[in-house]
Amino acid sequence: MTSRPRRIVVTVTPQGTVTAETVGFTDDTCLDYIAVLEELLDAQTVQSAYTAEYASATTEVPQEDREVARAEEWPGAR
């Protein structure tokens, strides 16, 4: 099986918030990049979820997004 290239897509809005998505990871090393991005951006993760790609790569987890870590009540996420 040919593995997809691993990428990280970062979007920085004019409001100063940042969204990031890992793409093409086949293991949980994608989670390592949460801390890497926080350090790189001097930022804190306020919401996180597995993507549809995660759901398609596994059979044990439900299809809906799952909370990964440190999701907080944050007005900007509403």
């Binding site: 990428r7 990280i8 920085v12 409001q15 100063g16 940042v18 990031a20 597995y50 907080e72």
Partner: protein, 150 residues
């Protein structure tokens, strides 16, 4: 297996753009309007104020911004968040309007700072910039190839 994240730069407090508006009178009977902001970074705040054509002066304790007829004194709270105290030709509605304009400018300053940080430092953590695109809403999307941790 992939994750999506929302990150908030430390320069931005996790609160609404402005809050806690209240008015009081100073010793001379002049109205002072106070508005709390979400802004934490003094340098970016000063740059945002200059972008609104304010005359800006600052010292360790405060940042003063003056427009025609309106003066704002920004002081940092114990939580590190700046609050604005408006005086002059201003009421609460006008104070909120001004803070809203400053906040929009501050957001753009944060965007620039974050993008610069990404461009400067991504390679040090094994990320190679493949593309950079400006979207319709003026967000900037950067795609990085993961080349391993450097």
């Amino acid at each position: 297996m992939s994750v999506s994240l929302i990150l908030l730069p430390l320069a931005v407090a996790a609160v609404t753009a402005y809050q806690g508006t209240r008015s009081e009178r100073d010793a001379d009977g002049r109205i002072i309007c106070q508005v709390r902001t979400r802004m934490r970074d003094a340098t970016l705040l000063a740059a945002a104020l200059e972008e609104t054509n304010a005359r800006v002066t600052r010292d360790d304790q405060q940042i003063i911004a003056e427009w025609q007829g309106v003066r704002a004194r920004f002081v940092r709270g114990e939580d590190g968040i700046w609050a604005a105290h408006f005086s002059g030709e201003v009421d609460e509605a006008r104070a909120v309007e001004i803070v809203s304009a400053i906040d929009a400018s501050y957001g753009r300053q944060v965007q620039r700072a974050v993008l610069q940080r990404l461009r400067d430092r991504a390679a040090t953590v094994g990320l190679r910039l493949e593309s950079e695109t400006v979207t319709e809403d003026n967000s900037v999307q950067l795609v990085f190839a993961v080349e391993g941790r450097g």
